[in-house]
Subunit: 205 residues, 2 copies
């Protein structure tokens, strides 16, 4: 439920008369996203917009042309990282056993959540740029986890009585409570959860 809003992608059916996106614009958008990702990772999400512009090698005006509000830039970065996390699922599934893939992906997801802790307050602050993020989060990550879970269940490697939605939420909560600079703790606790999944399968036999 809820209207879909796509901001960055041009609708693909009505662009016959529409001029294509100019090459420099596309280049700068990419450079900005990459720079923002790096700056947010090193200086936190409160880093000045100018720092991102400098790192991307563009002027301030260009930043605001592509991302009218600072929060739009943040949201775009998070979107891109959600995509990267979701896309990792099938790759892992192709190169590992289902259960290994599930474990590896949950750790990947853990890192994602831990890196975004600084955002938690902003996400719940009602900024319109963020409201759609929550939906996108579920929309992309739930199917990704579900695929891994189904494969692991089909292989008889994990228990069958857990919902992907609950698991996603539980792991996120685990990481939230975990320490500030201590991602290792979070990973250890998630490891525990994975073992719990395995244990259920063993009991079933």
């Amino acid at each position: 439920m809820g209207p879909q809003n796509d901001k960055n992608s041009i609708s693909d059916d009505a662009n016959q008369e529409r001029r294509p996106v100019r090459a420099d614009a596309q280049r700068n958008t990419d450079a900005l996203l990459q720079a923002a990702m790096a700056v947010f990772a090193s200086s936190g999400v409160d880093a000045p917009v100018r720092e991102i512009a400098d790192r991307a090698g563009v002027g301030i005006g260009t930043v605001y042309r592509h991302f009218p509000r600072r929060s739009d830039l943040i949201a775009a970065v998070v979107r891109r990282e959600i995509d990267a996390c979701a896309d990792a699922a099938p790759v892992l599934l192709a190169s590992h056993t289902p259960c290994e893939a599930l474990a590896a992906w949950l750790l990947r997801y853990t890192d994602f959540i831990a890196a975004k802790r600084g955002l938690a307050p902003a996400l719940h602050s009602g900024d319109p740029a963020y409201v759609s993020l929550h939906g996108y989060f579920q929309e992309r990550l739930l199917p990704a986890l579900q695929g891994l879970l189904d494969a692991a269940i089909a292989a008889g490697e994990v228990r069958t009585d857990i919902e992907s939605k609950e698991l996603l939420q539980a792991v996120a909560n685990l990481c939230m409570s975990a320490g500030k600079a201590d991602a290792a703790v979070a990973r250890r606790m998630v490891g525990l959860v994975v073992d719990g999944l395995r244990y259920g399968a063993a009991r079933t036999s």
Copy 2:
């Protein structure tokens, strides 16, 4: 150019005659705390310092004379509210039955936590002005709750198998997860907890 003062020979190191706080300074400190409390409640903790200064009827310089950093002002307000919450315990105990006092105080505590939700991110951000707050929180609120709990236990009105520390934490967590503008939900959930405490006492018989 002797560096020493020829006239001033009165001991200055063991200065017991510390100049008392000037009356206007004390007055302004109080006015600032009161104004800050009101402004934070209505505009949130991100309200501009100037707004608080205006409301208190003082200049910006005066604010920064009493609270060198903005975070110091916030911390002082929170400290004062922690005090108010802690001081409410003996008052409630004197005017209610132990169990009623306990229930009433937990609701009071709930409101305090709910009002401070906007602060949660800042508190964990390592700002030196806030690090001492956590200790102060426990230092004042734990004894307050413990006194209520002891009285209720002595009266046989509640179960005996809960730690005040856990209860404090549990109620805080309950309020955190509760909705943004919906303090009623939090109060209802805390009511549930209180009933749980009573239930334990009934079973003991």
